[in-house]
C-alpha cells in the first residue's frame, strides 16, 4: 500500500505540471474566444456599427460559432504547395504561441518570492524573447510553402518587419533587466511592489529615470504592435496590396491555427507589457494589501484580478489602435524601426546602465 503512495508521490510533480498546462490552455482558449469578440465589438463601436450580435446574447457565442465553422470546413491544399511545410507552418505558429505562456507568472504565490507559474525560469524574460523570435518561422514557412506570389511577398515583408522590431524590443527589455538586476519574471514583478509609482513605466523611486522609462514603455507598446503584425503595421496581410499576405492559401483549421497563434501572441505581448512595465499582479494603490497578505489565497486571487485587468486594458488599447490609426507605408515602418526606435532605445540602455552603476537602484 505504502509503495503505491510513494510511487504516486513521485508521479505527483509531473501530474501537477500537466494539470497546470491543461488549465492554462483551457483558460487561454476561452479568453481568446471572448477577447476576439471584444476586439470586433470595440472596432465596431468606433465605426458606429453594432458588431456581432446575432449568436447568443450580445453575440457572446459568435467566436464559438466561428470555431465550429472553421473545424468542419474542408482543408484545401494548393496543388503546387509543399504539403508538409504548408501544414506545419500554422501548427508551429500555434505551438510556439502556447509555449511562451509556460514562463508567465500570473499571480503571487502563497509564500513571498513565489508565483503562480508553470516554470519559474531564471532566464524567463530571455525565454519569452527567444520563443517570440521564433514566431517569424510560421509566417515564412506558410508564405513559402503556399507556392504563390502574394503569400511569398507577405512572408518576406513580415520576416523583415519582425526581425527589425525585435532589436528595439530587446534593448527595451535590457533597460528593465538593468533596473531589476534579474531576468526572472517573478523578480521583475516583485521589484514593482507597493503602488503604481513604483511600476517601471513610472519608476518614481529612481526619480530621473521616468524620463527614460516612460518613453521605453511607449516604444515597447509600438514595437509590440509591429511584432504581432497588428494595424497600423499589418503590412504582411495588407488586404489592399497583398489580398491577405501569407494567409491567402489557408482556410479551415490551418487558418484557425494561424489566427489563434496571432491572438495568443497579442495577449502574450499584453502580458509582457504588464509584467515589465505595469507591475504585473500588483494593484495600483497598496490599499488593503496588509489585510490580504494574511490571507494568501485572497492575495493570489486579487493579484490574478489585477493581472487580467491590465492585460484587458492593453488589449483594449490594441483594439483601439486597430480602429483609429491608418496603415503605415513600408518605408515608414522600416525608418521608424531602425532610425528612430533603435537609436533611442540604445541611448536609453546607456543612460539606465550609467544610472545603475553610479547612483545605485532604489527598489
Amino acid at each position: 500500500m505504502s509503495n503505491y503512495v510513494e510511487s504516486f508521490g513521485q508521479l505527483w510533480g509531473p501530474l501537477l505540471v500537466l494539470g497546470q498546462i491543461a488549465l492554462f490552455t483551457l483558460v487561454l482558449l476561452l479568453s481568446i474566444a471572448f477577447l476576439l469578440l471584444l476586439d470586433r465589438k470595440v472596432w465596431a463601436g468606433v465605426m458606429m456599427r453594432k458588431g456581432p450580435n446575432v449568436v447568443g446574447p450580445f453575440g457572446l457565442l459568435q467566436s464559438f460559432a466561428d470555431f465550429g465553422k472553421f473545424l468542419i470546413k474542408e482543408i484545401v491544399i494548393p496543388a503546387g504547395a509543399n504539403k508538409t511545410v504548408f501544414i506545419m507552418a500554422p501548427i508551429l505558429t500555434c505551438t510556439l504561441a502556447f509555449a511562451s505562456w509556460a514562463a508567465i507568472p500570473v499571480a503571487p504565490g502563497t509564500t513571498s518570492g513565489t508565483s503562480w507559474v508553470i516554470s519559474n525560469l531564471n532566464v524567463g524574460i530571455l525565454y519569452l524573447f527567444a520563443i517570440s523570435s521564433l514566431g517569424v518561422y510560421g509566417i515564412i514557412m506558410g508564405g513559402w510553402a503556399s507556392n504563390s506570389k502574394y503569400p511569398f511577398l507577405g512572408a518576406l515583408r513580415s520576416a523583415a518587419q519582425m526581425v527589425s522590431y525585435e532589436v528595439s524590443i530587446g534593448f527595451v527589455i535590457v533597460t528593465v533587466i538593468l533596473l531589476v538586476g534579474s531576468m526572472n519574471l517573478t523578480d521583475i514583478v516583485n521589484n514593482q511592489d507597493g503602488g503604481f509609482w513604483n511600476w517601471h513605466a513610472f519608476s518614481f523611486q529612481n526619480f530621473p529615470l521616468i524620463i527614460v522609462m516612460f518613453p521605453m514603455f511607449v516604444i515597447f507598446f509600438i514595437s509590440a504592435l509591429a511584432e504581432t503584425n497588428r494595424p497600423p503595421f499589418d503590412l504582411p496581410e495588407a488586404e489592399s496590396e497583398l489580398v491577405a499576405g501569407y494567409q491567402v492559401e489557408y482556410g479551415s483549421t490551418p487558418y484557425l491555427l494561424f489566427m489563434l497563434g496571432e491572438y495568443l501572441n497579442i495577449v502574450l505581448m499584453c502580458a509582457m507589457m504588464t509584467i515589465l512595465f505595469l507591475g504585473g499582479w500588483h494593484g495600483p494603490i497598496p490599499l488593503g494589501e496588509d489585510f490580504v497578505r494574511d490571507h494568501p489565497f485572497l492575495n493570489a486571487f486579487a493579484g490574478l484580478f489585477w493581472f487580467m485587468f491590465k492585460i484587458l486594458f492593453f488589449f483594449f488599447l490594441f483594439a483601439m489602435v486597430k480602429a483609429i490609426v491608418p496603415r503605415y507605408r513600408y518605408d515608414q515602418l522600416m525608418r521608424l524601426g531602425w532610425k528612430v526606435f533603435l537609436p533611442t532605445s540604445l541611448v536609453a540602455v546607456l543612460i539606465v546602465a550609467g544610472y545603475v552603476a553610479y547612483m545605485g537602484v532604489q527598489s
Binding site: V123, F129, A130, L156
Partner: protein, 197 residues
C-alpha cells in the same frame, strides 16, 4: 530521467543534422538546420547552461537562420546542375571527416573530461548568466571588446561595399511629408459651366 531526455534530444540533433545534408530541397535543409540548433539549445538546458541555450535560440535560430532562409528562398539556383560535379570532391570530404573524427577521439581520450555528475554550469556564481558575465567582462574584457570592434568593422565594410548612390532615385523626405498641410495641397475652385479651370 535526464539521461532519457539527453538521448531523445541527442537523437533529434543527429537526425536533423544528417537531414541537413541529405535533404534535396535547400529550404528543407535550412528548416532541418533550425531544428538542429533548437535541439542543441535543449541539450544546453539539460546541463544547466540555460543562458547559453536562450542565446543560441535568440541569435542563431531567431536571426542568423532567418537570413539563411531568406537567401535560400530568394536564390533561384538549379541544384541538379550544382550537384553534378560533387562526386569529384569525395576524397577531400573523407579527409575532412577523418580529421574531425580523429580530433574528437583524441580530445575525449587525452582531455581532462569532467564527469557529468560533477559538472558545474555556473562555477563561482549563483546563476549561469552571472558566471558568464564575470568571466567575459573581467577576465576577457579586452578580447570581448576586440571581437565587437572586428564585427563593427565587418558590418561597415559590408555596408560600404553594397551602398550605391543613385541620384535618379526619388527619396522620401519624411519631415516634408508630415509637415504638409491641407492648405498646401488643396485649392477650392468654383468653375462656371463651360469655362473649366
Amino acid at each position: 530521467m535526464a539521461v532519457y531526455a539527453f538521448y531523445l534530444i541527442a537523437l533529434v540533433v543527429l537526425v536533423s543534422a544528417l537531414s541537413v545534408i541529405m535533404a534535396r530541397n535547400p529550404v528543407h535543409s535550412v528548416l532541418w538546420l533550425i531544428l538542429a540548433f533548437f535541439s542543441s539549445a535543449g541539450l544546453l538546458v539539460l546541463i544547466g547552461a540555460e543562458f547559453l541555450a536562450m542565446l543560441l535560440v535568440v541569435v542563431y535560430v531567431g536571426a542568423v537562420a532567418v537570413l539563411f532562409l531568406f537567401v535560400v528562398m530568394m536564390l533561384d539556383v538549379d541544384f541538379v546542375e550544382l550537384k553534378q560535379g560533387t562526386l569529384r570532391y569525395w576524397p577531400f570530404a573523407v579527409l575532412v571527416g577523418v580529421i574531425f573524427a580523429a580530433e574528437i577521439v583524441l580530445a575525449t581520450v587525452f582531455g581532462t573530461t569532467t564527469n557529468a555528475s560533477t559538472f558545474d554550469a555556473s562555477p563561482g556564481a549563483a546563476t549561469n548568466t552571472e558566471a558568464i558575465g564575470q568571466v567575459m567582462y573581467t577576465q576577457y574584457l579586452l578580447l570581448f571588446q576586440m571581437a565587437g570592434i572586428i564585427l563593427l568593422v565587418a558590418m561597415i565594410g559590408a555596408i560600404v561595399l553594397t551602398l550605391r548612390h543613385r541620384p535618379e532615385t526619388k527619396r522620401q523626405n519624411i519631415a516634408k511629408q508630415t509637415s504638409r498641410r491641407r492648405s498646401d495641397a488643396f485649392e477650392l475652385k468654383d468653375p462656371t459651366p463651360g469655362q473649366g479651370i
